[in-house]
Structure formats: C-alpha cells, structure tokens
Amino acid sequence: MKRTACILIVLAAAFSVGCSRSSTSTTSMPKATAYGAAIVESSGGKQTAEVGTPLAQPVVVQVNDEQGSAVTGALVVLRGPNGIYLDPAAGLTDSSGQFTSNISMGTIPGRYQLVASTTTKMSKAVDLKIEEIALGYQETLGSQLNDQYCARCHNQESSAERVSNYDNLEVKPHPFTEGDTLNKMSDADLMAIISHGGPALNKSPLMAPYGYTLSKSEMQALIAYIRMVSDPPYGAPGIVYAQK
C-alpha cells in the first residue's frame, strides 16, 4: 500500500516537472566592483525605429560618483517593456564609466521607456529614464513622407547631402517634435493645414498645401508620425511604459 502511494507520488512529481513550462532565467548578473552616485545618459535616447528593428545607435549611459567623475566597474541594469530586446541588459561600466547596450524595439508601436539603474554604496538604486520610439506601419510611412516632403523645412538639422531650409524661412516652421505647440492642435487642424496650407488656419502661406499631392491616408500617416515623435508626448494612444 505504502509502496504504491510512493510510486504514485514519484510519478506525479515527475509528470508535473516534465510538463511545467516555467523556465528559470539563467542570465548571470555580473558583480559590481565599484559604486557610483548618479547615472546620466550619454547618447542614444529619443531614437525612432520600426517595430521589431534595432535602433541605429546604441544607448550609452554613464555612472558618476559624488564628484561627478566617471566610475569604472559599476553595475548598470537596463529594464524595458515586454518585447524590447536589450543586448546586453546588464553590465559593468567600462574604463570611461560608460555602459553601452544595443536595443531592438518591441512589436507594439509606441513609446518605450527604458530604466537604467545602478546601485550606490548604500545599496540605494538610482534610476535613469530613457525613451525610445517604435514606429508601426502608419508611422513608418509617415516618416518616409516626412523625409520626402517636410523635413527640408521642418527639421533644423543640416548635412552636406541635405541642407536644411529652416533658417531661410521668414516665419519659422514648427519642428515635428515640438509637442508644446502641435499637441494643442487637433487631428482635424493638422489635416487642414497639411491639405490646404498655412492660410487654412491663418498661418503663413510659406507652408504650401499638399492636399492635391498626398492622399488622405498619406496625410493621416504623416499625422500619426507627428503624434508619435512629439515631445512632450501626445496624450493619446500607444504609450507603453516600462514594467516595474
């Protein structure tokens, strides 16, 4: 009787172990050899990439001590929302106090908030928030249209290959990241100004009408893109935050 019970229990245990799908994470965390007091972003924030694709530039953060000088060997842990791929997700700062990670965006379009954290000597966690943007189909189309039709005037950044026209304009256009202004405008307003030009909303005629050049869905894609890159963020859909 007892033997049967024993066998049954062993069988049940083996069955449950064999069938369980829970996998224990095996990534080993490196051991910090030094501790900093602050963590700052060096580069790589506020980039855009298509969903599921890598960002063009890696995210680089730096750990500093109380005096503001770089700390080598401090442990930096990067966390992000589901779906985002961090390579690596944790590591020690290098000889210039920096930790570099290559990021691939998740599958849901929207803003992704990364949290880079390091611990101080007093084992207190110091966090740094970094935002990245994943473009869905509509926003990707919008960004391509932006490159073709809008960026020459609306983007101040100039390169030898593509000289910006921003400085030449008497009335300055709003960069698409300028959320303070653009977030106050409704989708209908943006649609009107894109299709009928500046005068549609009593603004400068230097902004030409594109309603006979772009289709309605193209203009909607452009608006989706403008909403996605605006800073501060546009209050509507698609904001994905880091998990606790």
Binding site: E50, T53, Q138, R152, P205, M207, P209, T213
Partner: protein, 690 residues
C-alpha cells in the same frame, strides 16, 4: 473471479450488487463524457473571450463593444487565397480602434494598414497557423504545425508577396531588394519574380578578360585575400582563400588575360609621372578632379577616415596601389577602350589633363597594401589549379574570364526560399530552427554551416541582413500562386535606347548613369524624359558648354565634358525634337512680351498667395529658399508653356517632385508664368554668356 487482497475489498464495496454497480458505472461514464465539454470550457480561446468580456465591461463604450463582440470560434475564409484564419477568435478587438490604448494581447486593435482584414485574413501577412485554436499551435512551430508567426522585423516581407515594386511604407523590404541586386546575390542564385522575370543584378562586376593590363598579380592576390582591405565599400565578398589558393587563382587570372585596345600616349604618361611626386602639381590636378565632378560618382576616404563622394563608381582611396599607369591614363582618356559597356562617361580631356588626373590618382596609394605580397613566377600546375578553383567558386558567374564559361544555376535557386519547410534545412549549431533565423544566419556567416561550402563571406550590416531576409521571405509559394487580382507587378524594366548619332553620343557620355529617360537610367540627376518641352535652346547649348548648378545646396553636379560645338548641336537638336511631353506644346506660349500688369500680378501671387520664396530664390538679396532651383534666370531657361503646365500640376510632368500641386486657377497660372518669364537674369550676365 477473485482479485487479490485490497482490490477484492473495493470490488465488493462498489460493485457488490447490480444496483450499486449500475450507479457507479453511470457515474464513471458521466465523468468521461464531460471531458469533451470541459476541455472546450477550459480551452485557450474560451478563456480569452471571457477575459475580453471582462475588459470591455469596464469601459465607457461597453455597450457598443459588446454589440460588436461575437462569442465562439470566429473564422475568416478566403478560398482563393487558401486562408482559413481563426485568429479573431481570441483577438476579439482587431477592428475596435477605440481600444487603441490597450497594451495587452490578444486584445489590441490592429494598427491602421491599407488592407481590410476580411480581404486578406491574418496569416497572409503574419504567417502562423490560421486554423489552430490554441496559443501554442497558432503562434509557434510545433510538431504538427510547422509555420511560426513572423517576428515584427520581418513583417514587410509579406507586403513583398503581392507588391513587386518598392512601397513607401516598407523601407526594410526596399533596402533588402536593393541589396539583393546590388551585392551580386542574383548572379549565382536565380530568383524569379512571380510573373517569371528573373531578377537582374544592378552591380556591374568588371570583366577580367584583360586584367593583366589593368593591374598586377600581386594586387589580385591581396584583393582575393581581403577585398575590404583595399576598398571598404566594395561589394566583392571574401572567399576566404588560403595563401596557396589565392596564389594559384591570381596566377590563372593573369595568365588568361588578353591584351586590350589601350591607347597609350607617352606625353600623358610623362605628365602623370611628373605630377605624382610633386605637391604643387598635385594640388593643381586635385582641382581638375574637383571641377570634373569625379566625386559625384567616386568616393575617397579623407584624413578623418570618412568616405566623401558618390557610390556609383568604385572607391578610389587606394587606386594608385592597384592601377597600372598605362591602363589608368587610357581609362581616364576613354574608358570605353578598355570596357565598352562601362558606366563611366568619356570625358574629352586633353593629353595633359589625362596625365594630370592619372598622376593625381596614382598618388593615392597605400604602401602597406602590397608590402607583404611576394609571389614567384607560377608553375603550370599552379595555373591549372587556379583554373579549377575559378570553376569551383563560380567566379565566372559574376566576371567575364577568358576560357571559363559562365556557369548556369551555380547556386540553389531562391524563387521559393521563403516557403521552404524548416525540416528540409540543415541548421548550423546555435541557430534557432526557424526559416527566418536560418536565412539570416546563412547570410551573416555562410561558412558556419559546414566545411567545403562555397558561398563567400559578405560584409553586410545587421540592417542589410534583416532587409535581405525580408526580401527573400517574400519569394515563396504563396507569392507564386496568388490570384491575379491580388498581384501588383513591378513596372517592366525599360530597355530604352536613344537613336542615331545623338544616341551614340549619349552612350559615349553615359548620360544614363545619372539621368533617367523613358524609365531607363539613374536617379542622381533630373529625369530628362520631357526635357525637350521644358528648356529653351540657347540655354541648353550654354549648359552643355558650361554646366552650372541650378540648386544652391547641391553638391553633386553635372560635369563639363568638353564637347565640340557639333556634338552639342547634335545633342540639343535631338533632345528638343524627341523628348517632348504630349501634354506640353512648347510653342503654345510666347517667351516674352507679357503685359506689365500681368507680371506685377504674378509677382504678388508669387510672394504672398503662394509663398514660392520659401523654396526658390528670385531676388538674391531677399530670397533664401534652398529647396527648388534658383529662378533668377528662369525666363531664359524654361519655356513658358512648361512653366504654365508645371504650375497646374507639377507631379504629372515629373512624378515624385517635391513641389506640391496647388489647384491653381488658369489666371493665376498665367500671371505666374508671365512673372517668371520676366526673370531673364541680369543684363551683365547675359552679355557675358553670349
């Protein structure tokens, strides 16, 4: 029947008499029968549907959402596409844009795309198993269901199944297709589009028939060992040849070379020799290199290590370590002598200019490149071995080599690679067992898949690899069997050839390397299909004599070819007569004589109503627009009829132009034409031109 000990006791208790036995048997049957409905009740999809009902019940638009919601197994059935998709059973909110703030799956609505769910279903784009009703079966690769869901970064491949032309919303697929053509993949692998056309390469691997005239065996050896050491941007892959193999291949290539019809001018050679080692003369030659706009096509690495220049021709950073002086001076004089189909234009340089440029280029040498290459004269055995290697590695798939036939189907055909079952693939260790991971790994490190493989190592960036995976996944069984109504073929490749003497000149100058006409040609310079309707004769003649840029912020420019007056006349006559738009009658409006009041009205419209100064310059003191061409001389450059039609609808004359269509009234268009035609440039400049 007597059972042993305890079991007999149980039998007595439960099945001792008929009535209890019947009762217990019924109970057991009932439990067994309830397994099926219970399994249904606890199925994944049931759980998700209950979850969805809970989710929507808390929302303000719960009533509407509940009205849209249909419980039970849902299915999209599209017989002509072979689609049976039950995904919407769990993904209940696909068509509910008001749930856009929901971040948990399976309840997110589908982001806006140009297609309707009912027309395409889900698996056409996302792959996976449409008929499955459990999470595991639908999304992953299981024993019975092999097709996993596509990761987001490969989704654009699915657009490419139907759309054979580039789409604005699919940058990755576009990049992949471009890479597939530009890196020579299609020289070895046949890839057919669904309409049966074979994809052609856009790279132009040089012929090696006269290689010994062009360069040394030492350079060929160093190049074979590591092409990127010579040029970081070359598309030639690394075949990872051993020292002996590279020695023998270089021996064979040099020995198989026949002399080309080079024109060697001693004066040019002497000049080149002088210039090469003289800093002062080099500076002078460098300005000739600049004025000839060589950098529009060729890049050179600057002191900071950045490449400066175009990517139409090969990089020239170390050309002095490669090219023989006799070959280089001949090439600069007339590249068609060595390689008739080359894309490089035939500049009409004087012998001295040829020498200056040759010297300038010969000075661009890297002493380290060949410092460690010491080759003895080859033995016959080595040459024979080299020939075998050239055959084994399929070198003739890309290059013309004397005595070696271009192999047919050298590498596996990739027309259906995007639907190859993963059970038929041999995976390298560490590569996840999915098709897309296989393709990606194979492109990244082809030789990791076994020994004795021939596919060479490319230097793709991760973005290019992802692009290529996208492009290749699009070549699959579904793409080949789509109903005609769903296919969007690529525009047929144009094989336009200009005729007569002008046509010969245009090919000699290789206009098509930069300009497109009737669908054939490059996109660096303006499309000239309707140039004949657009420009005035005097301006065109002047432009050929001395091309000056029309756009202030442009660094790529039309070179001066030093054409004779007769050649210029031939070209001008041909362009004006042949390249005419049926929509624009160039003689329908006068070039001058518009009433002052109309000109003034046009000026008002130009500056206030239409804000043209945001992109164009008319008054060099006031206007600063950098986007469109400068219009200070537009009245002596363009025809009035062209301007008028351009005002009415620019993109009908030049598709893809940045200038928007304004839906302008005829009167406005006429007034603007009058104003623009009055911009003839300053008298002084006019006088200088004549």
């Amino acid at each position: 029947m007597k059972l042993p000990g305890p079991l007999e006791k149980l039998r007595q208790k439960f099945f001792g008499n008929t009535i209890t036995a019947f009762g217990w048997t019924s109970l057991i049957l009932l439990i067994l029968l309830s397994v099926a409905p219970a399994k249904n009740f606890f199925a994944d999809w049931h759980r998700y549907q209950r979850g969805y009902e809970r989710l929507i019940s808390k929302r303000s638009d719960a009533v509407t959402l509940r009205r849209h919601f249909e419980p039970g197994i849902q299915q999209i059935w599209l017989p002509e596409m072979g689609v049976v998709d039950r995904c919407s059973t769990c993904h209940s909110a696909l068509k509910e844009p008001t749930l856009a703030d929901v971040a948990i799956q399976p309840y997110r609505p589908h982001p806006p795309i140009p297609h309707k769910l009912e027309e395409f279903g889900c698996v056409v784009c996302h792959r996976g198993q449409g008929t499955a009703t459990s999470v595991e079966d639908a999304h992953k690769s299981t024993l019975a269901w092999e097709e996993p869901l596509l990761p987001a970064k490969y989704l654009e491949s699915s657009c490419g199944q139907c759309h054979q032309q580039d789409l604005k919303g699919t940058p990755q697929l576009n990049l992949g297709r471009k890479t597939l053509r530009a890196y020579g993949c299609v020289h070895c692998h046949t890839v057919k589009q669904p309409d049966g056309t074979v994809i052609a390469g856009t790279d132009d691997p040089p012929s090696l028939a006269h290689i010994a005239d062009k360069t040394t065996r030492e350079w060929v050896y160093a190049w074979l060992k590591d092409p990127q050491a010579y040029s970081t941007t070359t598309t030639m892959p690394n075949f990872k040849l051993s020292d002996e193999d590279a020695r023998d291949v270089s021996a064979f290539l040099i020995s198989s070379s026949t002399p080309a019809a080079l024109k060697v001018v001693q004066a040019s050679l002497d000049e080149a020799k002088k210039v090469k080692d003289d800093a002062g003369l080099l500076t002078k030659a460098s300005s000739l290199y600049g004025e000839s706009f060589c950098a529009s096509c060729h890049a050179v690495q600057n002191a900071a290590g950045n490449l400066v220049g175009g990517n139409i021709g090969p990089e020239l950073t170390k050309i002095g370590s490669k090219a023989k002086p006799e070959w280089l001076q001949s090439w600069v004089r007339n590249p068609h002598d060595y390689d008739p189909p080359t894309g490089m234009p035939h500049y009409r340089f004087s012998d001295q200019e040829v020498g200056d440029l040759t010297g300038f280029l010969l000075a661009k040498a890297d002493a380290d490149l060949l410092a460690n290459v010491h080759l003895d004269a080859p033995t016959g055995e080595q040459v024979a071995h080299g020939r075998r290697l050239v055959n084994d590695y399929g070198c003739a798939s890309c290059h013309v080599i004397n005595g070696v036939k271009k192999p047919e189907n050298f590498a596996p055909e990739l027309t259906k690679i995007g639907s190859k079952p993963s059970t038929q693939l041999a995976f390298a260790p560490g590569v996840p067992h999915t098709l897309y991971d296989y393709i990606g790994a194979k492109i990244k490190q082809p030789r990791a898949f076994g020994t004795g493989l021939k596919m060479p190592q490319y230097t793709f960036t991760p973005v290019q690899v992802d692009g290529l995976v996208n492009a290749l996944l699009a070549h699959n069984e579904r793409a080949l069997t789509l109903p005609v109504s769903k296919t969007v073929p690529a525009p047929a490749a144009s094989h336009y050839e200009p005729a007569g003497k002008a046509g010969q000149l245009m090919n000699d100058l290789n206009c098509f390397s930069c300009h497109a006409i009737n669908g054939r040609g490059g996109d660096m310079a303006p499309d000239l299909t309707w140039e004949g309707s657009s420009v005035q004769r005097d301006w065109l003649v002047q432009f050929f004599r001395n091309p000056n840029t029309l756009r202030p912020a442009l660094i790529r420019r039309m070179p001066k070819f030093n054409l004779t007056d007769a050649d210029i006349n031939t070209l001008t006559d041909y362009i004006l007569a042949v390249y005419q738009s049926p929509k624009v009658d160039r003689d329908s409006m006068p070039l001058a004589g518009y009433p002052a009041i109309q000109v003034e009205q046009g000026k008002q419209l130009y500056y206030s109503k239409y804000g043209c100064q945001s992109c164009h310059i008319i008054d060099t003191k006031l206007d600063k627009g950098y986007i469109g061409p400068t219009l200070t001389h537009v009245g002596s450059r363009l025809t009035a009829a062209w301007i008028y039609n351009w005002m009415k609808d620019p993109s009908s004359l030049r598709p893809g132009t940045q200038e928007p269509k304004r839906n302008m009234s005829d009167d406005d268009a006429r007034a603007l034409t009058a104003f623009l035609m009055s911009q003839k440039g300053s008298e002084k400049q006019e006088a200088k031109k004549r």
